[in-house]
Symmetry: D3
Subunit: 228 residues, 6 copies
């Protein structure tokens, strides 16, 4: 099957990292098509970026009509509802995929994300999905998204320190990495802290494979209908 | 003061109706600037329109920098978070304004909206605002938004019949008109059914005046901050 | 229009302060009638005062039959439901007015109130209004209501220190002043801390003006009906 | 032990019926002191009565200082918080007692009450107690409280018909009688419909006995504290 | 009346302590039958014990067919739904009994329990009962259940220190002892800290007496029905 | 990988049907080990069966130590928490798998289950998972579980008629089949009604594959820890 993993910002180095994370978990017979928007913000941080990245995202989706599922690789799950209305195949945001994955293996999870300004948007999503009661806390590291690309040791140190506090204070049983740019850290952090660490890209790709194998598609009799 | 009342679809006859509703309630010294998007969908029905109208909405907002408050005259409250991030003045969606107004004068309200496909989006908004527990039911009339512009008696008949059922079945104490295109019906329906009928355009304009007179502006220390 | 702003305790110096706050935001053509109960507790702190102030409040309301709206200037929103049943015009509590105002301009707000014993009553109100999810925390300063009238610098210091902690710890984006007696501090605190500071008296008066201009009145077909 | 069962309206025939219901379940060594307000409304129907009955209720409580527990025999649980602040002994409303009793023996219960105008007040209480999720529906019979005193067969017929509908439509497993004036119907209805029928007066008295035997009293370190 | 108080673990010294707590609050004419499972875990700590104790619990229940009510003396409320399906009499878990008792006398309560691994199970129960909003926090002492039997002063010290923190930090108004093995501490702790301290065994026995005196039994028309 | 799909009742014809559903969606390199309890109830209907099937379920799990994931093929998700504590690999109930799958492709889903007596247990699960707000309604067909094995046309007719009502009345966008014994109906019903129909066995197997490929296992630092 073909899964479109689409980064709704325009930073191709981030798309490359996402593609690696996606291919690392995909089945041998799954083709991962990694793409990003051609126009729009270079990173998605806060409500304005979430809105302005939409045209580029929809345009890029339209460029890949023959796919079996779509994963939107932005932790804010931007544009998920719009893309579900546009296509018939299953569409998953990496935020929602990660939260649902965490719900299967832990009583409580904490989210480690980038800037504080992104926290209310993530909390709104958790409330909408019904999973806010499973989330111990959304913790900001105050690391900008693109800073994650630089491989600065201080960045990793900050993430680890939030995980440590989360275990000590939040009764958390699993960690959700709250940015597609953290996808490469999953294994190392899980090993070091002895608890599940969930990356939404990996969760999104494998859940997309699951839905396709269930022969399940986006419902077209209600709000995702394309008929006027 | 100047209030920008912005219709995020491109149908100018609807903007005209919105302008009339806004001016009918605004104070004498309030200037209503009614505008609509230059590009985008002709009406906003469902998740895809909610997303694709954003660029046109943001562009139109940018054309009116010197206003004291902004009312987004789409009942889905599309783009409210993005516009709040873009500007410093208060920004209200007409959906949220109507729900909050209803909360002040009734224990329960019902929403009468256009197509069924819009219902889940409105329910998501109500959940996010915390007001879902005050909403008896969101009822669809299955009248397309632009059909409201035609003045067909069958349209009014359908709206009245949903209000009648809502009073009989939902324990509702007030009606919220769930589309900017219904703004002209407020007085007639309130008179006929003997209960408050709330139009979001009117509610949004008067609450915007209220916030400006309180000297309150959109908070800029959290998720609506423009700094990176 | 005439708005009755009624202080349900018997402390007239507090009524004077409330009147000033009300007139500061009211339109030129709005007449503010400030009044207080003739009988009952000197301040309203906790569940017993909330109950015992009711007869005095209802009696005072009855003395002002020709008003267009009523604002109950006690942050506990005492007697709001009873007064709504008694009259036809819109009735707002200053607590609910402030919470709804905060919801329009911030993702999360914190409340700074007087005694700890008042906190559960405010939390009950927030739950009933549906806005508990928007409230980061209700913080008590342990300053008695009437102490606010004395202008003691230690009082202001304590309020400021709670606001500081709230910004640092609660992810709050706005502050709601949780007592009518704090109405005079709004401007100074907003300036100092760089975030919206909301006073319920001002919010209540301007929202009352808004409802009157919408031609909206308390619903009389359900629980606020006067018919037996 | 001595339990004060206090009817906060002034209708003594209703107090007599309440006393019979209370004594029918009390232990042999429990003395039931049945009393009613000397001043206030003759029945409590809706928000205004709930408020205006308070002074009479508090005065009557003060006349009985030597009791071990207090049951407030109004299904709206009017004045419960105020009385808890006034005294040290346990205080129960018959509404809350009935809802908690139902929670021990059924997954879902329905409430059969008097007028429609009382429904929102009961729903507010259920939400505050956390038990709204256990309540299938609050059903109004549109029988005025005092009509229950007349023994009209049509009254009983209406109550039975609401119970029948509740079993058929609400998935209900138990019935809560939503008015102190229905206390005498508990046994007959339970027998006829084959499910638990809960009267708040009986539940309140026996739970009061339970709390006294646990040596539990109203907490005095928080909102029920009498210290200023 | 006869009340079966059943300890679903196999530690008879704990059963003895439970019997003493039960008899201390029961009426003179109530016969307390204290029993424990003959097979199963020696203590119940976490989800696996909660499940594996069920056969022993159900077997022991079957050995006592002639009782008027059953109290399951495990704070996790293990097997309550199954036993309710098996018998017709009222069945109470000591966890739920304690939470409901706390709700009658305090706005907020905290739970002091044994191991951290038990916390999510208790939080799930509170959510299901609807009382999670009344619970300020479930606090683990990290004392194993059977350690409570040893009378080690360090154990009591740890419990007291958690209560102290709970009063200082959680705004709590009452303490619920979160293990049947703490039943003997109720009086001492209540005295020392000046707030209600609730033991589920005592609450369960007295509420069982109350339900029996109300002539209320487990509903048999829904999910607790034994018919297939 | 090896996935243990375990039917916690003793009806092997149902296990055969489950095995077929599991293998129909599993990858070529996934080995499905279908098993059922050796002891316990022949079907699981209501709270008592949910409890009494546990020992047989745990014994069967222990017979298959070398698996990569476990799917518990009972729609009540019985024993999921206990099995998660017993093993390190991912464990999914088919109820939770189906609800989460539905959340990815529809705004609202309805559940079509067997007997009415099972409804409260499913509603409790939905509340615990947080997904109750996505579930329009749990509908009982009043078909006993084992009746599904008989292939009676009246059975299929009843299921179809509930789906039809659900589409007409509940605003549902997807159907969740609420019993492992309905697994063979998924394709036919989806085709006939034009909306996604979700079978928990298929969802559980494919999500288990997904978690294994993510290298995610049950968290062992909290309530699922095996250490005492």
């Amino acid at each position: 099957m073909k899964i479109l993993v689409i980064n709704p910002n325009t930073t191709s180095s981030m798309t490359d990292k996402i593609a690696i994370a996606a291919r690392a978990v995909a089945r041998p017979d799954t083709e991962i098509i990694a793409a990003n928007s051609q126009d729009g913000p270079a990173s998605i941080q806060g409500f304005l970026d979430v809105a302005t990245c939409i045209p580029g995202l929809l345009a890029e989706v339209a460029r890949h009509p023959e796919v079996d599922a779509i994963v939107i690789a932005c932790f804010d799950d931007t544009g998920v509802d719009a893309v579900r209305t546009l296509v018939n195949v299953p569409v998953l945001g990496i935020g929602e995929a990660a939260y649902h994955a965490a719900s299967f293996i832990a009583n409580k999870f904490s989210v480690i994300t980038t800037l504080s300004r992104s926290v209310p948007g993530l909390e709104n999503n958790l409330m909408r999905y019904g999973l806010v009661q499973k989330c111990a806390r959304v913790r900001a590291t105050d690391i900008p998204v693109l800073k994650l690309e630089e491989g600065d040791p201080a960045t990793l140190f900050k993430i680890k320190s939030e995980i440590r506090e989360s275990i000590a204070q939040d009764n958390t049983e699993a960690i959700v990495l709250g940015c597609a740019g953290m996808a490469d850290l999953m294994a190392e952090l899980s090993e070091e802290f002895g608890l599940p660490v969930i990356d939404g890209v990996a969760a999104g790709v494998t859940f997309a494979e699951a839905l396709v194998n269930n022969n399940l598609r986006t419902s077209k009799i209600g709000a995702y209908s394309q008929n006027r």
